[in-house]
């Protein structure tokens, strides 16, 4: 039965001391596209997890077509016609598309489910324009194709209302356009859509109505055509978010990092990075744009010593550091703010002061012979906490008790405290709230002024344009071109991200 109306009233949810949702109410009619806008941590994902049955609400009711419903698990929500396409795909990498779709698909036969599912997938592909090979393994697919699998999963399970959580965060601009076309088609067929995003442009372009969340509460709701970006931004943050960051124009200094014809193998693929060459100068930020999965991770690992290149060379201030270990590159002055900060950048169970020297513990500042000088380590940690405004209950708190933003500040502070020659920052503001994001970006710009060379890898084009002097695009392991950000256009970058070489472009 189609969902003509959805009503969530007074939804509240707390995790320990944190109130993620507070008295949230929203309404949706059949065939409508509702945008759910809010910055990171506003409570959008929690609210949708409650709607999808992944979490129970502490208070509040949900009504579908006027009748109250209670979801104890996604199975209930799916049975009632609600589907969810997650931001981080819930796909099993080693399995085929058909096997992933068959998982949790109530009508899949017990014996040989993959066959029947493959047939249905072909059907759906035709109807909605979602082309995907049922026999391919997930790890072989691009992010856009994986997302199609998620959408097919939801539709096959009978989703009438589809929740999409930050769907374009992993897509190139062109793939995002293709997705919007699919969504519009679904909307005309009567499906309702809830579109979660923090990107104002997209919300305004695809949604009929918008609900803005801020700190767990509804900050405002209206039809999309009645709103503009500034207003939405204000509702989202409570103040005008125009980052007051100014990038001073500086003369780039001598070459610090020189990468020549670098080839790096991936975990499964033969070559994740193919013959990439570029240079980064002092007082310069080079941005590497491109959707994740095009070789950025392998490139960063090769430069920071976590992965051996198969060919080519890496030089730091003229010295050959190709294939050097992480220990050596760190000692030579390459600092690294890793993506997935909790997984790679800190040791969650150790204390704040112990994490403040994770890579620097061998330096003479903090050690004498075999022994660590905890006195100087604590002093160093105290300085970091003060200089970077890190909110930590004490130096002896396990670092996992800190918020994401504070953890990132600690990592950044730790890495730049040695005035490194080169800082490699991978997705440094991912998942951080506006305040922390602004802070980190300001720090990176100041570092650039002080003379460090920076290599910034980011999927956020806004960030790249704000911070970087020049931008390079990685597609399928190849460098598609390097252009000064002052002269580049979104269209140009978008084309490069989709694998199309620009008409002009210089690799300096």
């Amino acid at each position: 039965m189609r969902i003509q109306s959805l009503e969530m009233s007074g939804i509240s949810k707390a995790f320990g001391a944190v109130q993620a949702n507070r008295g949230i109410s929203l309404r949706l009619s059949g065939g409508e596209v509702l945008g759910l806008l809010g910055e990171n941590g506003a409570g959008k994902t929690t609210l949708m997890k409650i709607l999808y049955g992944l979490l129970p609400a502490d208070e509040g009711t949900i009504r579908i077509n006027g009748e109250p419903v209670r979801f104890h698990s996604p199975r209930d929500a799916i049975a009632r016609g609600i589907g969810m396409v997650h931001q981080h795909f819930m796909l099993v990498q080693n399995h085929t598309v058909a096997e992933n779709v068959a998982l949790g698909f109530p009508e899949a036969p017990f014996f040989f489910p993959a066959r029947e599912v493959a047939r249905r997938i072909q059907e759906f592909s035709r109807r909605y324009g979602l082309a995907v090979n049922p026999r391919a393994r997930i790890w072989q697919l691009s992010a856009g194709e994986q997302q199609r699998v998620e959408i097919i999963k939801a539709l096959l399970a009978g989703a009438d209302l589809l929740i999409l959580d930050e769907p374009t965060s992993v897509l190139t601009p062109r793939e995002a356009e293709e997705l919007f076309a699919v969504l519009r088609r679904m909307s005309t067929e009567g499906h309702s859509l809830i579109f979660i995003s923090h990107k104002l442009e997209e919300i305004l372009s695809i949604c009929d109505r918008v609900v803005v969340l801020r700190r767990g509460e509804v900050a405002g709701a209206a039809a999309a055509r009645e709103m503009d970006k500034r207003e939405l931004a204000r509702l989202m943050v409570g103040r005008e978010i125009i980052f007051n960051l100014s990038r001073k124009s500086l003369e780039p200094g001598p070459v610090v990092l020189e990468v020549e014809n670098l080839t790096v193998a991936g975990d499964r693929k033969a070559a994740a990075v193919r013959g990439v060459s570029f240079r980064v100068h002092r007082n310069e930020i080079l941005g590497i744009a491109g959707v994740s999965g095009n070789g950025q991770r392998e490139l960063v690992e090769a430069i920071t010593g976590l992965r051996r290149p198969a060919g080519g060379s890496v030089r730091l201030n003229g010295e050959d550091v190709t294939g050097a270990s992480a220990r050596v590159t760190a000692s030579k002055g390459i600092a690294h703010v890793p993506e997935e900060r909790i997984r790679f950048g800190i040791v969650p169970n150790l204390f704040v002061y112990e994490n403040s020297v994770l890579k620097q513990h061998r330096s003479r500042l903090f050690s004498r012979g075999m022994f660590l000088n905890y006195g100087s380590i604590r002093a160093h940690a105290a300085r970091l906490v003060k200089d970077f405004s890190i909110a930590a209950p004490s130096l002896n708190t396990p670092v996992r008790a800190l918020s994401g933003g504070n953890i990132q500040k600690l990592i950044l502070g730790r890495e730049i405290s040695g005035e490194p020659a080169l800082l490699v920052a991978a997705h440094p503001t991912y998942g951080l709230d506006v305040g922390a994001t602004e802070y980190i970006r300001r720090q990176l710009l100041e570092l650039r002024e002080r003379g460090t060379a920076l290599l910034l890898v980011s999927e956020d084009l806004e960030e790249i344009f704000e911070l970087a002097d020049r931008v390079a695009v990685l597609f399928n392991g190849r460098l598609m071109g390097i252009v000064p950000t002052a002269e580049a256009t979104m269209e140009q970058i978008g084309l490069m991200m989709a694998g199309i070489f620009p008409a002009e472009g210089d690799a300096s």
């Binding site: 992944l54 979490l55 698990s73 996604p74 199975r75 799916i78 969810m84 997650h86 795909f89 819930m90 796909l91 099993v92 990498q93 080693n94 399995h95 096997e99 992933n100 068959a102 998982l103 949790g104 899949a108 036969p109 017990f110 014996f111 040989f112 489910p113 993959a114 999963k153 499964r268």
Partner: protein, 304 residues
Amino acid sequence: MEKILLSVAVRTLVAGTPLLLGTLGEILAERSGVLNLGVEGMMAIGAVSGYLAALGSGSPWLGLAVALAAGMAISVIHAFVSVTLKANQVVSGLALTMLGLGAASLLGKPFIGRPLPVKLEAVRIPVLADIPYLGPVLFSRDAVFYISVLLGLVFAFLLARTRWGIEVRSVGENPAAADAAGVSVSGRRYLCTLAGGALAGLAGGYLSLVYSNSWMEGMTGGRGWIVIALTIFALWRPGRAFLGAYLFGVIFVLQYLLQPLGIPPNLLGMMPYLATLAVLVAGGLRADHRQLAAPTALGEPFSK
């Protein structure tokens, strides 16, 4: 000469059957993401309880059933600690092994060396058993042998070609994805761990009831650990478990065969353990291959 070969073949199958049962069970548990290092303890409990039940009742079948149940009962503890309490699975398994070996020793003490007056008879499969050479070896074995082979084939099919198999494998690869699809992660993990425990218990029962027809201290002799190694060797596929199980069956049999050659029995005694190391080293040479075959979420507790 051929008589010797046939006898060796038969004894290999008998020696390999408990290994096959144990490996199949461990593959199931690990595929669902639970690392069960308590197999040795479960086997021991299965061996002693099967023996005692058979001794008391006079029925080997009851003995086997009790062995199976005992193994399953103990694995409930491991499932609870690993899945519900989300504790360290390695230490839990070790504790279970100590517990199982100790308890088995306690229970079996008064009966050491007492032979069982009952035996599991061989079941002849008509027509097939008359095939020259192969017939008497393959088709005139005890019922548990047939069951183990059947189980291997059934598990292989279940895991690869049914929806249940996809669900179990997904739970072991990406439990968050399975959970989001409405599959009960703890439910599947409990089921597979219990099945693993049941098969480990049955394997132990087979050891005391068929392989050696009595109870002795340390009867399991590290077979539980060998099973865990064989699971890796089989790349977590039931089909490949046959290869490892019977290969080690041969090794156990060779221990006795080579004795008359004058090789010190202790050197022969080392064979299964050195072979296990060799098997693991060989697997490690293609480490990337093995890494890709291991269930991604193996040994990691799942929280929403």
